[in-house]
């Protein structure tokens, strides 16, 4: 009997110690984890801007958004990158429906309304097909760089199969269409709200 009691006491002591250790470790790592996450997040986002094109910390201040539901996507946030006080680019964070689930993208547009960079933050597309969207080595998103609403007519914003101007990702027609529609949405939003985004409007 005493062996059984000893075993039970030992086990409960171990459980107590385990819980205490886990909680203490969680408290100890909470700060480094938050910091690492913030750094990682910023690193991922700011790859869309050409290096040296900004000297502020764009992600520190979010801009106020006038209207967040666009035609094909939903705008989550907007940030302004400035160099020596003058705005150089706007980062738009939007979410839209892809083939396998929601896709989140950050799209950078310069002050002339041209695309300067894009990056996929979240996606659940088919492995090997639609998920090549997020693979930087594929460079599919690079074909949009330099495009603007002025230099690309409305009907050209489509994949070639739909009589548009852009290549599609092989085997991922739905994903390609969704991305193109979302990019067009972002450009349209930029052109419509340009003064407010660039901080030129004085209320």
């Amino acid at each position: 009997m005493s062996a059984r009691w000893r075993s039970a006491a030992c086990l409960s002591l171990l459980a107590l110690l385990a819980v205490v250790t886990t909680l203490a470790w969680q408290r100890f790592t909470a700060k480094p984890i938050a910091q690492a996450q913030r750094q990682w997040h910023e690193q991922q986002w700011l790859t869309v801007l050409p290096p040296g094109s900004y000297d502020n910390q764009p992600l520190q201040t979010a801009l106020a958004l006038a209207d967040t539901s666009l035609r094909h996507s939903r705008l989550l946030a907007a940030y302004r990158a400035t160099l020596a006080g003058a705005p150089t680019a706007i980062l738009l964070h939007n979410r839209f429906q892809g083939y396998g689930g929601a896709i989140e993208m950050v799209i950078a547009i310069n002050t002339q309304g041209r695309l300067v960079g894009m990056r996929v933050l979240e996606q659940q597309e088919s492995p090997g097909l639609g998920d090549q969207l997020a693979d930087p080595a594929r460079q599919w998103l690079d074909q949009f760089i330099g495009r603007a609403q002025e230099n690309t007519p409305e009907q050209a914003w489509a994949i070639k199969r739909d009589q548009g101007a852009f290549d599609q990702l092989a085997g991922a027609t739905v994903t390609s269409r969704a991305v193109i529609a979302a990019i067009q949405d972002a450009l349209r939003y930029f052109d419509d709200h340009r003064p407010a985004l660039l901080g030129e409007a004085r209320p």
Binding site: R4, A8, C10, L14, W25, I33, A36, G128
Partner: protein, 174 residues
């Protein structure tokens, strides 16, 4: 018990988290660290615990160690932790199984051999997958099914190169 017992019980993390050499090295080091620590902490406890209670103790200890490892990875190696996804948590399984499967005689010798084998297997798998995916552009090598096929081929090659330990007298006669 098969020679590849530790390999078999850690199959899921082994296939899931060996897409690159760095991933392969880190997941196998995590496995060695976890299993080693778990065995080291269980050694003094086994004497004080009854058979049933020792299973519970093993589970509690595994949960604690795996949680601490996961949080540590996230705190100090976030990009790597992101790539490894949930696979470090799945290392709890081989930890628990080790406790049950290891024989009492030559316990640590067996454990070291198993861990060494796991380290080598994951390193070989990581190198093969990265080379196939980067140089030969074989996309299947980056996916888990490709990893399973590759592991099968590697084990087949190993078995072919290494003569069977079974002596001919036990193989039966025709």
């Amino acid at each position: 018990m098969s020679r590849f017992w530790l390999l078999m019980i850690s199959l899921v993390p082994l296939l899931g988290a060996t897409r690159t050499i760095v991933q392969a090295i880190s997941i196998s080091l995590c496995a060695c660290l976890l299993t080693g620590l778990h065995q080291a902490l269980m050694a003094p406890l086994r004497r004080h615990l009854a058979q049933g209670a020792s299973l519970w103790a093993s589970a509690v200890l595994t949960a604690t160690l795996v949680t601490c490892l996961y949080l540590g990875l996230r705190a100090w190696a976030l990009p790597l932790a992101d790539e490894l996804a949930l696979y470090p948590l799945l290392l709890a399984l081989p930890c628990l199984a080790c406790e049950q499967l290891l024989p009492h005689a030559h316990r640590y010798h067996q454990l070291c051999r198993g861990l060494g084998g796991l380290l080598l297997a994951s390193l070989a798998l990581g190198i093969c997958r990265q080379v196939l995916a980067d140089n030969l552009d074989l996309h299947i090598a980056t996916l888990a099914p490709g990893a399973l096929i590759l592991l099968g081929l590697l084990l087949g090659l190993y078995n072919h190169l290494r003569p069977s330990t079974t002596s001919p007298s036990r193989q039966g006669s025709r």
